[in-house]
């Protein structure tokens, strides 16, 4: 059953050192900033972070990197105009990087959530990102074999949640959230507000409650300050 928290520190309690943490968001849209800040305070280290980017500016994921908690980043696009924290760590040899094509990144997490053992993907064939990977020709087309990426934890930003844990998102802030929620052992979502069970239209729920273990209600967190 989903637990609803008004306190970010309680919402992230128990994340272990060495965890693989899936972090939603595309740039800042859908980025679970309050959960990441709480994860920094919580102190888990030696993390592998899976996210589309490798942090922007000095907050959120960039701050987690700057705090030295991340051993490895798996992402599609680390280099950005404001990714100086990652850039510095990477060029100093202080962080590992696995670059994965964006769609393959999403699909590998979907596979983890969907119980698929591996899949043949056409993306990246004939490029350096397919080096040392198994390939196969199917119906005349070349594919590379890709394996699931499973998270110990997923941190996801959504728009509204209900008390049971159902989630809806807003515009392009949806991005990786629904996929990551399916791919982690422990999924923690931050939402703008929590409504009573039954208030969300069942036709419009994007992440069914089965995938959500904990919800941080930002409206409650805000009110508590």
């Amino acid at each position: 059953m989903t637990a609803v928290f008004g306190d970010a520190d309680e919402a992230v309690a128990g994340i272990a050192d060495g965890s693989t943490v899936l972090i939603g968001g595309f740039g800042m849209a859908g980025m679970p900033v309050q959960l990441i800040d709480a994860l920094i305070r919580q102190g888990a280290t030696d993390l592998t972070v899976v996210s589309n980017n490798a942090g922007n500016g000095d907050t959120g994921l960039a701050a987690l990197l700057a705090a030295g908690r991340v051993r490895k980043v798996i992402c599609s696009f680390p280099r950005q105009s404001d990714s100086w924290v990652f850039d510095g760590l990477y060029l100093a040899g202080k962080i590992e990087l696995e670059v994965v094509p964006q769609g393959t990144l999403a699909e590998r997490m979907r596979a983890a959530g969907a119980g698929i053992g591996a899949f043949y993907c056409p993306t990246g064939v004939g490029t350096p990102l397919a080096e040392n990977k198994e390939t196969r020709t199917i119906d005349g087309r070349d594919y590379v074999l890709e394996y699931p990426i499973k998270g110990d934890v997923a941190l996801v930003g959504a728009h509204i949640g209900d008390r049971m844990g159902n989630l809806v998102y807003r515009k392009t802030a949806r991005n990786f959230g629904p996929v990551m929620a399916t791919a982690a052992t422990l999924t923690i979502a931050q939402v703008g507000r929590v409504v009573e069970t039954g208030e969300l239209d069942p036709e419009t729920v994007v992440t069914p409650c089965i995938y959500v273990d904990r919800i941080l209600d930002l409206s409650e967190a805000e009110a508590a300050r």
């Binding site: 595309f26 740039g27 800042m28 849209a29 859908g30 589309n52 599609s76 696009f77 680390p78 280099r79 950005q80 990652f86 850039d87 990477y90 060029l91 990087l97 670059v99 994965v100 094509p101 964006q102 769609g103 393959t104 999403a106 699909e107 997490m109 979907r110 993907c121 056409p122 993306t123 990246g124 064939v125 004939g126 490029t127 350096p128 990102l129 728009h159 998102y169 807003r170 515009k171 392009t172 802030a173 949806r174 991005n175 990786f176 959230g177 629904p178 996929v179 994007v206």
Partner: protein
């Protein structure tokens, strides 16, 4: 879906127009996108193509971060940080839009449902190999984003770039020296000096701007074909 008819029956040398500006180039690309197409304009320069698409053409823009029916860049009060394009620039939503998550968005791309994508490039080879994600230079941080997914996924991959780098080195080459984004995926190459069709038959010049096929042939290390048998 077939891409728009090729210019006339023979290669056109437009000597009355100098090398195309970025904006003029975007207009030429826009001209060749068929009505009713589903199109992804990637990030950066190719997004300028949107400004030249006729409003009544029924062309629907896809952005990799989970949206069909993307509108122009947002301004002023329209700016909503939950509504951005692949370059993280705030955009708007048109009637008939839809949102979906990343796995669904890239399933749409990888599954061959987009008619056209337009990408920038470091190099394009005469076989249509595309290099646009990584210089491979020591110390360069690799970042691929959705480029490889678009390269293998869209039915037609258009590339927009200058034909020569600033030092005069050709970017249309016999063989890419930069790491590949995708092999044999580019079907059209739009440059400031010429538009090329790339296919199993080789590289065909469709149009030139402020130059001639002959002059291009002398500056490129690639065999050029022409339309109309000359």
């Amino acid at each position: 879906m077939t891409v728009a008819p090729e210019p006339a029956g023979r290669t056109a040398e437009h000597l009355d127009r100098g090398p195309l500006s970025r904006d003029e180039l975007a207009a030429v690309v826009a001209r060749d996108i068929p009505r009713g197409s589903f199109v992804n304009l990637g990030i950066g320069q190719p997004t300028m193509v949107a400004d030249h698409l006729p409003a009544d053409a029924g062309i629907v823009l896809h952005t990799e971060n989970g949206m069909l029916g993307m509108g122009p860049a947002a301004e002023g009060d329209e700016i909503d940080h939950d509504l951005v394009n692949a370059g993280k620039i705030p955009v708007t939503e048109l009637p008939g839009a839809s949102y979906f998550h990343h796995a669904d968005s890239f399933a749409m791309m990888r599954g061959g449902h987009l008619d056209v994508c337009v990408l920038g490039a470091f190099q394009v080879s005469e076989r249509g190999d595309l290099a646009n994600w990584h210089t491979g230079a020591p110390g360069a941080i690799p970042a691929v984003g959705g480029a490889m997914d678009l390269a293998i996924g869209a039915k037609n991959v258009f590339v927009m770039m200058t034909l020569f780098s600033r030092d005069g080195t050709p970017k249309l080459v016999p063989e890419c020296t930069y790491p590949l984004t995708g092999p044999a995926c580019v079907s059209r190459l739009y440059t400031d000096l010429a538009v090329f069709r790339i296919g199993p038959e080789g590289v065909t010049v469709l149009e030139t701007y402020g130059t001639t096929v002959k002059e291009l042939a002398s500056r490129l290390d690639v065999a050029l074909r022409t339309l109309g048998g000359w």
